[in-house]
Amino acid sequence: MTVTKGSTDVEKTELVTLTIDDIEVSVPKGTLVIRAAERVGIAIPRFCDHPLLAPVGACRQCLVEVAMPDRDGNLKTMMGPPGRVKPQASCTLVASDGMVVRTQVSSPVADKAQQGQMEFLLINHPLDCPMCDKGGECPLQNQAMTNGRGESRYTETKRTYPKPINISAQVLLDRERCILCARCTRFADQIAGDPFIELVERGALQQVGIYEREPFESYFAGNTIQICPVGALTSASYRFRSRPFDLVSAPSVAEHDACGAAIRVDHRRGQVMRRLSGNDPEVNEEWITDKDRFAFGYAVQQDRLTHPQVRDEETGDLRVASWPEALMVAARGLQRASADGGVGVLTGGRLTVEDAYAYSKFARIVLGTNDVDFRARPHTAEEEQFLASSVAGTALGVTYADLERPSAVLLVAFEPEDEAGNVFLRLRKASRERTRVYSVAPFTSRGLHKMAGTLLRAAPGEEVAVVETLADDGDLALDAGGVILVGERAATTPGLLAAVAAVAATTGARLAWVPRRAGDRGALEAGCLPTLLPGGRPVAEAAARVDIGAVWGRTVPAHPGRDAAAIVAAAAAGELGGLLVAGVDPVDLPDPAAARLALDTAGFVVSLELRASEVTERADVVLPVAAPVEKAGSFVSWEGRLRPFEKVMRDSHALPDLRVLAGIADEAGVDLGFRTTEQARAELAEIGRWDGERVEVPRVPSGDAGRGARAPQGEGLETESASRERDHGSLRGSQARTSVQVEARKLAPQPAGELRLATWKQMIGDGRMLDGDVYLRATGRPPVVLLSSGTLAGLGIAAGSIVTLHGPSGSTTLPVAVADLPDGVVWTPTTSETAGWVRSSAGPVVRLEIPEGAGA
C-alpha cells in the first residue's frame, strides 16, 4: 500500500467542554456554538447559517446568552452596551472550554432577542404563505410558529417590489419574500464560483440582484433555491405546481453523471414534480448540478415506449405485441442470429450495475459471446487495457474526501465542471484551501479558472508529451500527496492513458478514472467489456473464467470479444447475425453513420429502450424498460462507490432491463439466475472482486519520434493577453495561474483554414436527457467556436463572427469567441451535430469556412 501524505496524518481532535442549557457537551475545538447545540438536540433558530457556507452572522436570529470564565475562572456574562446582557450570534461564536450558553430554552434574554429578530424579519415579509412554493417547508414559517410572537405589531405599509424577476431562465426571485440571509449569494460565490448574483443596493433597499446582461447562469444555480430559507427563490419549472404536503418524497441517486449524487425525488400521482439534493457528506454534500435537479422530464416525453413491439414480417412495420410474444420473438431471433455469425451487445453508459450485470451475463451464457461493450463513445484497446489493469475491480479508490486535501490535482482529458459537476465542486472547495489544480487541456476553461487552476496547454495530440514531462516537474510537485483524475476522453488520444498510468507510477500520485455517464463504472464492474468479466476478471485468465463459470453454472466463452467499434464494423459488414442494444444512440457511437449502417445490416436487432430512437426505428423487437425512478438499482460512482437506490414510483409496472433479459433468457431456455434487482445485486456481490493477476498497465510505445520536441516558441505561453481578452472560457479575465510551458510534441502544421479540433460535451447540451426541460436548457452555455487570438487574426475575423466548421461528417455554424488555445486549434462543444467527428485520433482536422462578409 502506498502511504500518502495528505490522508494519513491523523489529526488529534482536541475537545472543548461547555454547557448549553445546563447540558454538558464536548465538541472538537473550533466547533460553532450553534452546532454544539445541535449535538445535544437544541435547535437554535437560524436563517443565514448554513453548515457548508462560511459563517456570516447576518440575520441575528440565533442569538444566545453566553458566559465565559475569566482569567480567574469566574463566569462572566458577555455584556454591553453597559449594563445589558449582549446575546451572541451562536452561528459565528466558536465554543470554548467552560463556556456557559443559554439558548431560548433557558434564557429569557435570548428568547426575547430571538423574538425581536423574528418580528423584524416579518414586518416586511408578505403574508402569502398559502400561495408560496415554500409554504409548508419554510424555515421562516416554521420558526415563526415556534419562536415568533403571535401578533404583529407592525401596522405600516410593507416594502414591496414588482414580482417576480427572472434571475436566469430557470430561477425566479421574489424580492419581497427575501430575508437577505445571503445564503444564495454566498453559495454562488463560495461554492459554485459563479458570483452572478450579488447583494445590490443598501440598507432597507438591499436586495439580491443580477447584472442584467449577465444572468445567473450557473450549472449549480438550483442549489440556491433549495437553501433559500424562504420562498424567495423558486424554479420556473416547479413554481406553483405543487404543495409540499401533497408530495411524496423518496431518496434516490442522480443518473446524469458518474458522481453518484444523492437526490430526493418528490412526486405526486405518478409524476415527478421536482428533485432536490440529498445530504450525503461523503459524496455530494448538499449540492447537485442543475441537470441532476431539473432534468427529469425526459422520462415522460411523448415518445416514451410503453408497449413491446415487434416488426411485422409482412408490413415491415413495428406493431405492438404482448410481452410473451415479444420476448419469444426476441429470444428466437437472437438465438438464430447467434448461430448465424453471433450477436453483439451494446449496453451504453446509463444502466444500473444490476442491469449491466444482466447484459454481461446474458451475452456470455445466452448468446455465448464476449462481444459486449458499454462504451458508447470513442474507445481503444489501450483504454480497455487501462480499465482492466487500473480500474475494474479496484473497489473504492480515490474518494471525494481525498479530493479535499491533496497538494496537487492533475486533470487529464477531463473537464470536471462539464463532465462531473460534484467532482468540480469538491475540487473548487479544495482549491480554496491549499490544493493546486493543473489541467492538461487545450485552454483555460471557466471551470479551471474558478479553481484558480494552472493550464498545462496541450493541443489535441500533444497531451502525451505534456503528461510525460510532469513526472519531474518541480512546480507541479506531483507526488504521493497528489491525485490524477483522468477522463474518458483520454481514450481518444493514443498513448495518453499509458502516459498517465506511468506518471502515477513514478510520482506515487493516486489515480482515478472519471467517466461521464452514471452507468459507465458499474458496467465496467459488471463485465460489459469484451475482455473483462464481472469484478475485473480478465476473460483471458482461465482461472477467472472458472471462477465466474462456477457461479453461473455455465462455461464462459474464452474467445476474446469485439469492442463496440468492432461490433459495429462487423455488423455493418454483415459478419454479425444480430445486435442487442440497450439505451444507446447511434450519435453516441464513435461513427454514427457506421452505427446506422450496422443496425440496418444486422439480421436481427433487439432494442431495450425508454424512448423511441434511431435504434428502435431499426429494431426487430423493441422492449420498453423502466426509467431510473421506476426501478431499484445502483450506480457505481467514479470513486468505485456503490450507490444503491430504491424504486421511487412504487406503482410503476415498467420493467428493469434485467427483468426483460431474464424473460428473453427464459424463452431461450436459459435461466439467467435472477429476476429481480436484489437477486442480481446479491449474485454480483457473491462474485466479488478479482484477486488474481491483473492485466498489465498499458505502456507508452518507446521510440516515439515526436517525443521531446519543443513546442514552437511563444505558443502556449500567454499571460497578459489571455487575461485581457474577454475570453469565453474564463469568467472575464483570468485569475487562473499563468500557464506553464511544457515540452510538447510538435504536430505537423495544418494547411491554412484547417484546424485541429478539441471538443467535449457541455453539461447542458442538446442531449435527449434534457428533453422537456426547456428552462434548464435555456441556461446552458450557447455553443461557440473558440479560437486563439492569433488564429483569429490570421483568419482576419473578429470575435463574434459567424463561421462554419466542416468536420469529417457534416458541419456546424456558430459564432466565434477567443480563448487561450494554441494557434491552429479549434474548440467547440460536442453536440449532436459534431458528435460524430471525434474519432480515436489526435483531434480530427476540421476546416473552417468564413461566410461571405464575416471577415474583418
Binding site: 452572522g57 447576518a58 405589531r153 440598507g203 433597499l205
Partner: protein
C-alpha cells in the same frame, strides 16, 4: 495648571498656507522622523503607550496598545505578511467636523503621523481612506503626499533610515458605514462596505487578510507631537485616564460655533463660555457629546467632564467630541426623526435588526412626529430599540437607537405633546440660523 485651551493640532491653522510642506517644515514639521528613526520600533510603540493617547475616532481605544497587537515576525507557516496602516478619514458621524478641518489646514501633520506609525508597526504601505464628499480635502491630501514623496519623507530608504513607505490617498464614495473599521476595509478592497466578522481582528487579518492598524485621523495626527515632545508632555494634559489635548467641535445654536482644542476633561459649560454661549435669548435644551450616535444630554450635564469616563458616567459617550448644541426652539422629536432617517439611509443592510429596525423606527417616529398614535406607542418604540441595541452586527444600529431612547428619557412629555397637539408644536423657522429677529423673540 494647564491652560483651558491648548492648540497643538490646530496651532498653525492660521499660518500662511499651512498646508504646504514649506510651511509645515518651518514649524518643525517632519522633525519627529529623526527622533523616531533613532529609536527602535518598539520604543516608538512604548512611547505612544506611555502618552496615554486614546483613539479619537469614537471608541477611545488606547492607540499604543492597538499597535502592540500587530504580530511581529513570520506567521505560523513561516510566511511574512506585509503590515498595513489604514487611516480612517471617513468622518461622517453627524456632528463630527474635526478631521476634515485638520486635513484641510495641515495635512502634513497627518502624513508625518502616518510615517511615524508605519515605522512603529513595521508597515510599508499606508492608505488614507478619506470620504469622497470633501473635494478640497482630497486635493490637499494628494498634494501633501506628493510633496512628502518629493522631499524624501516618503518612498524608499526615508532619510537614510532604510525604512520604505508608500502612502495612497483613497477617496470613498459616500457611505457612513465605511467609517466602521471593518466595513472600511471591505470598501478599500473594492467591495460593498459591510462590516466583517470579528475575529479575526484587523490586527491579525485586516486589509488583504494581513495585519492592519486602523486609526482615526486625529489619533494619527497626534503622534508627531508625542514623538517630538515626549509622552510625559502629552500626558500632562487631560485627566487621569483620558490624556492629552483634543479637538472639540461646537456646532448649532451657539453664538460662535467652531473648533476648540483643549485638554480632555473640559466641560461644556467652559466651552460654551468661550464660544459666547448659547444663541442669544435662548436656553440650552439638549446636546450630543460625541455625534448623533451618543445619547443626548441636557443642561443638567453642563459640568460633566468631557472625557471618556465623565461622559460615560453621565450615561452617554464621549465619541467624537462633536458637541451639537440645540436650544429651546428645537423640536426634539423632529431632531430624533431626522437622525433616525439618517441611520436608515446609512444602514448597510447586512443585519436584520439594523436594516429592518431602522426602517420601522422611521415609520413609528414619523407617525409620532405627526401627532398620530398613542402614548403606548412610545413603549412599543422603546421595545423596538431594545430589540436592536446590542443585537446588531456592528455598532451603527446601537448608535441609531441612542437618540431615541435618550430623548424619551429626557423629553418624554414632548412626544406626548405631539400626540396631544395632533402635530409638532414647534415653528421650525425659529430654530434656523437666519431666523428673523421677531421669530426669535
Amino acid at each position: 495648571m494647564v491652560d483651558a485651551l491648548t492648540p497643538v493640532l490646530s496651532a498653525h491653522w492660521d499660518s500662511d498656507r499651512p498646508w504646504t510642506l514649506e510651511s509645515y517644515e518651518a514649524t518643525g514639521g517632519y522633525s519627529a522622523l529623526t527622533t523616531a528613526f533613532a529609536l527602535s520600533q518598539d520604543d516608538v510603540i512604548s512611547m505612544v503607550k506611555d502618552s496615554g493617547l486614546r483613539g479619537r475616532g469614537g471608541a477611545g481605544f488606547p492607540t499604543g496598545m492597538k499597535w502592540g497587537f500587530i504580530p511581529q515576525g513570520p506567521e505560523k507557516d513561516g510566511t511574512v505578511k506585509p503590515h498595513y496602516l489604514v487611516v480612517n478619514a471617513d468622518e461622517s458621524e453627524p456632528g463630527t467636523c474635526k478631521d476634515i478641518p485638520l486635513m484641510m489646514a495641515t495635512p502634513h501633520t497627518l502624513v508625518e503621523g502616518v510615517i511615524l506609525t508605519c515605522y512603529a508597526i513595521r508597515a510599508n504601505h499606508a492608505f488614507i481612506y478619506v470620504r469622497g464628499e470633501v473635494l478640497q480635502v482630497v486635493r490637499r491630501l494628494q498634494r501633501a503626499v506628493q510633496e512628502a514623496y518629493l522631499a524624501g519623507h516618503l518612498g524608499t530608504d526615508i532619510h537614510g533610515s532604510g525604512f520604505d513607505l508608500d502612502v495612497t490617498v483613497h477617496a470613498g464614495a459616500g457611505a457612513y458605514i465605511c467609517g466602521e473599521e471593518t466595513a472600511l476595509l471591505d470598501s478599500l478592497e473594492g467591495r460593498r462596505g459591510q462590516p466583517r466578522l470579528r475575529p479575526p481582528f484587523p490586527a491579525v487579518a485586516g486589509l488583504y487578510a494581513a495585519p492592519t492598524v486602523i486609526n482615526n485621523v486625529e489619533s494619527i495626527a497626534s503622534v508627531p507631537c508625542i514623538v517630538r515632545n515626549g509622552a510625559d508632555w502629552f500626558a500632562s494634559m487631560g485627566t487621569e485616564k483620558s490624556k492629552g489635548m483634543t479637538l472639540y467641535s461646537l456646532s448649532g445654536h451657539v453664538a460662535r460655533p467652531g473648533q476648540l482644542e483643549a485638554p480632555l476633561g473640559i466641560t461644556l459649560r467652559q466651552l460654551l463660555d468661550l464660544a459666547g454661549g448659547v444663541r442669544e435669548g435662548h436656553q440650552l435644551k439638549f446636546w450630543t457629546p460625541g455625534g448623533s450616535s451618543t445619547p443626548i444630554l441636557t443642561d443638567e450635564h453642563l459640568d460633566v467632564p468631557l472625557d471618556y469616563e465623565g461622559v460615560g458616567a453621565a450615561g452617554s459617550m464621549l465619541g467624537t467630541k462633536a458637541l451639537q448644541i440645540f436650544d429651546d426652539t428645537t423640536c426634539v422629536v423632529r431632531a430624533v426623526l431626522r437622525w433616525t432617517e439618517f441611520y436608515k439611509h446609512e444602514s448597510c443592510g447586512k443585519c436584520t435588526p439594523c436594516r429592518e429596525g431602522t426602517w420601522w423606527l422611521v415609520q413609528t417616529l414619523s407617525r409620532l412626529e405627526q401627532g398620530r398614535g398613542e402614548e403606548s406607542d412610545l413603549e412599543a418604540l422603546l421595545d423596538q430599540c431594545d430589540n436592536i441595541l446590542g443585537r446588531s452586527f456592528c455598532a451603527l444600529a446601537d448608535g441609531a437607537v441612542s437618540p431615541i431612547t435618550s430623548s424619551i428619557q429626557y423629553f418624554r412629555q414632548e412626544y406626548v405633546d405631539h400626540l396631544e397637539n395632533g402635530g409638532c408644536p414647534f415653528d421650525p423657522a425659529r430654530s434656523t440660523l437666519f431666523a428673523p429677529a421677531e421669530a426669535l423673540a
